[in-house]
């Protein structure tokens, strides 16, 4: 028995050392092809978010993370979005920022964002956002153990498995990838790709009570601190839009309409973006993201104009922009957009 325990322990230590060595090799090689890993992205994002006192912060999921270039905003801005973020993550990030200089929050919304409570990045978010964030996932006297168990598992599977080994093999065989994904200093994540006609995705439009609760907390947070909250729905391909029935869209917009202090910019059905502007089924490519960012900036400036920069409190309105590009150089579209705007200006 003692021999078994001793030998088992020695073998276990050797195996652990081999696996640790493997993770070192993996961390040194794979980012040369795939860019920074998730934990590294989140760490950099949090680090850079507080480098400056940004008056405008962008929150959202991967469609915003990749789809907004804050450098194209008229106001100094940072993209604090991340893959898979929903309102609980966005709320806690906002609270973590706790910035007195914050005047505008541009928050990505989609018809599916209320439908999930993602825990895949808790191993990275947990230590940064704290116990209040983790309390939605873990409760009871063993919650810390449960969290560490999940955190170790999530970290381990970032290295384990055939899906990951393929990346390592490619990094050795094919060498560094110049066109690899990258995280810009302004927080935007660039992930190259080419959309295909056969791309498909399934979306769930359920509105979970917990995400509604966090959405409302964000609205209240912004109201209390006199922060302008602008909701943005990025362009969506037809192949994605088939998931959204008229009933689910109506339910979503009816829900939003109860909030008087938000501005809602819906670009999901705009005709200005084609398949070639996407890098996959749902994410804009870098060039299209720049165009989209300018459109969002133009819309924000048109609503508040210079008054935003002067931090004057605005009146509330909700509006939908359909089929109108708002690039200042596209004169025909600007006129149509302005006409839409004036039609809805008296909603309040």
């Amino acid at each position: 028995m003692k021999q078994f325990i001793t030998k088992s322990f020695i073998h276990f230590v050797i195996v652990v050392l081999i696996l640790i060595g493997y993770t070192w090799i993996y961390d040194a090689s794979v980012p040369r092809r795939l860019g920074p890993n998730t934990k590294s992205q989140i760490a950099q994002s949090f680090s850079r978010a507080k480098e400056h006192a940004y008056p405008l912060v962008v929150l959202g999921n991967s469609r915003i993370y990749r789809g907004i270039n804050p450098e194209l905003f008229s106001i100094k801005a940072f993209n604090f979005a991340h893959d898979d973020d929903s309102y609980n993550q966005m709320y806690h990030k906002l609270k973590w920022l706790d910035s007195d200089s914050l005047k505008v929050v541009v928050m990505g919304v989609d018809y599916f964002t209320f439908s999930y409570l993602s825990d895949k990045r808790n191993y990275a978010y947990g230590p940064l956002l704290g116990d209040e964030y983790l309390s939605d996932y873990y409760s009871g006297p063993l919650r810390k153990i449960a969290f560490y168990k999940d955190a170790v598992y999530q970290r381990a599977i970032n290295y384990a498995g055939f899906d990951r080994t393929k990346f390592l093999i490619r990094s050795f065989v094919m060498g560094p990838n110049k066109a690899r994904p990258k995280l810009k200093n302004n927080g935007q994540y660039i992930y190259p790709g080419v959309a295909k006609p056969s791309d498909r995705i399934e979306r769930d439009t359920t509105m979970l009570p917990i995400q509604k609760k966090y959405f409302e907390k964000i609205v209240l947070y912004c109201e209390t601190r006199n922060i302008r909250l602008v909701l943005v729905m990025p362009p969506a391909r037809e192949e994605e839009r088939v998931n959204y029935s008229p009933e689910s869209i109506a339910r979503f917009e009816t829900y939003l309409s109860q909030f008087r202090s938000i501005t809602y910019l819906n670009f999901s059905e705009t005709k200005d973006y084609e398949m070639k502007d996407f890098s996959d089924i749902t994410h804009l490519n870098e060039a299209a993201a720049d165009r989209f960012s300018k459109s969002v900036n133009d819309a924000i400036m048109l609503i508040g104009g210079a008054r935003l920069a002067k931090e004057i409190k605005m009146s509330t309105r909700i509006m939908t922009i359909a089929g109108a590009g708002v690039n200042q150089h596209q004169d025909t579209n600007t006129a149509r957009f302005a006409a839409n705007l004036s039609h809805r200006r008296d909603e309040n």
């Binding site: 078994f4 195996v15 081999i18 170790v152 384990a160 498995g161 055939f162």
Partner: protein, 477 residues
Amino acid sequence: MLFNSFEFLLFFPFVFVVYWFVLNRNLKLQNAFLLVASYVFYGWWDWRFVFLLILSTLIDYTFGLIIERTTKKKLYLWLSIFNNLAILGFFKYYNFFADSVADGLQYFGFHPDIYLLSIVLPVGISFYTFHGMSYVIDIYNGKSKPITDFVSYAVFVCFFPLLVAGPIERAHHLLPQVLKPRKFLWSDAKEGVRLILWGFFKKVVIADNLGLYVSDAFNNYQSASSVELILGVIFFAFQIYCDFSGYSDIALGTARLLGFELMINFKTPYFARDIAEFWRRWHISLTTWFRDYLYIPLGGSKGGKGQAIRNTFIIFIVSGFWHGANWTFIVWGALNAIYFVPLLLSDKNRSHLDTVASNSALPSLREFAQMMTTFLLICTTWVFFRAATVTDAVGYFKGIFVNKFLPAPGYFNIDMVTLAGLLFVFIAAEWTTRLKSVGVVDSVKNRYVRYAIYYILVLAVFLFGSFREAEFIYFQF
């Protein structure tokens, strides 16, 4: 609780330490601890069904005692069988029968309002009810004596390594091990760890990675190419084998680490030279259970070929039904019976009782052809086993012949090549161990080479495994 879960990684070392270090001098306490650990293991999935497990255990325990003492043995035997089948029937087959009756009545123009229940199928119910039934039937037949110690009996029924997916143990094999003190043996421990490691390799590396291709093929059979469909069913043959035998290996290895020897459930079945040999090597605990408790009581082959064929059909159809409440399993069973018939008619069902190529390194051409033919026949039955409906299975076969032949470019990519390489390594390892009682690695003389191979195996599980939280296939039975 799954074997391939973080919880089990914490659970089993704790059980092992307490079992051998704290309680090893007291057999009663050791068995009680095993029983509690087994209930915790089972209840981790859904604690409510622990009560059903306890109830089923209590009923069979009681019937065992009664049958020994009563003069109305047959009555109580049938009551016990009825009870077990009623529990199994309700949880597993109620909705199937209700649906089938409704479909049948609709065919004749009736529209009954059949009440369907949202019944959760308790994990492992097919396995532990069979444990109980075999115990009671053995007592009735005089092959076993009932035991008065409920805890020991409950350990036999609920022993956690075999609780949810077998092997289906017999009282005369497992109960004596429960009743006598276990001794920690170095050889048992080594064998246990080796079995667990090999089981994980089969499940996580081979079965779960193949599962992706299998799912693609079966979910898209209308549009997939013939090559994808053919590969889909071949991959499923290895997926289900590696998944189930992998689980069995982990179960055997875990039990061995606790000093128990469970029955072997698989003996390289894909090297079988005919269907009869295949069924002597596949899910051995279930096939021998049906042989001993259904085939032989029905008369076996004693009443001539007609009776043998009838009984064979009954066994395979019941076996299909045991696997699940779906017509696909019944067709699967019937097909296997049909393949068996020529062997029965020609008295060749016991031609191959030895292991293929027992005197040579490689099979002869004839043996190879026999293995390939048997494998092909088995694959045709697997289509029904895997498909969601009989219509889908028929559509799958049709797709093989009418769809476009070649897959889209990129199908044969590095993933597929790597997987094919791992599958080849696996088949080679199985071939070299077909005659041995120890694993191929254990027959390597140099200790350091042996250790290096084990480390490579662990690394292979880490590097090539699929960690997508896939359940073991046989959990659903």
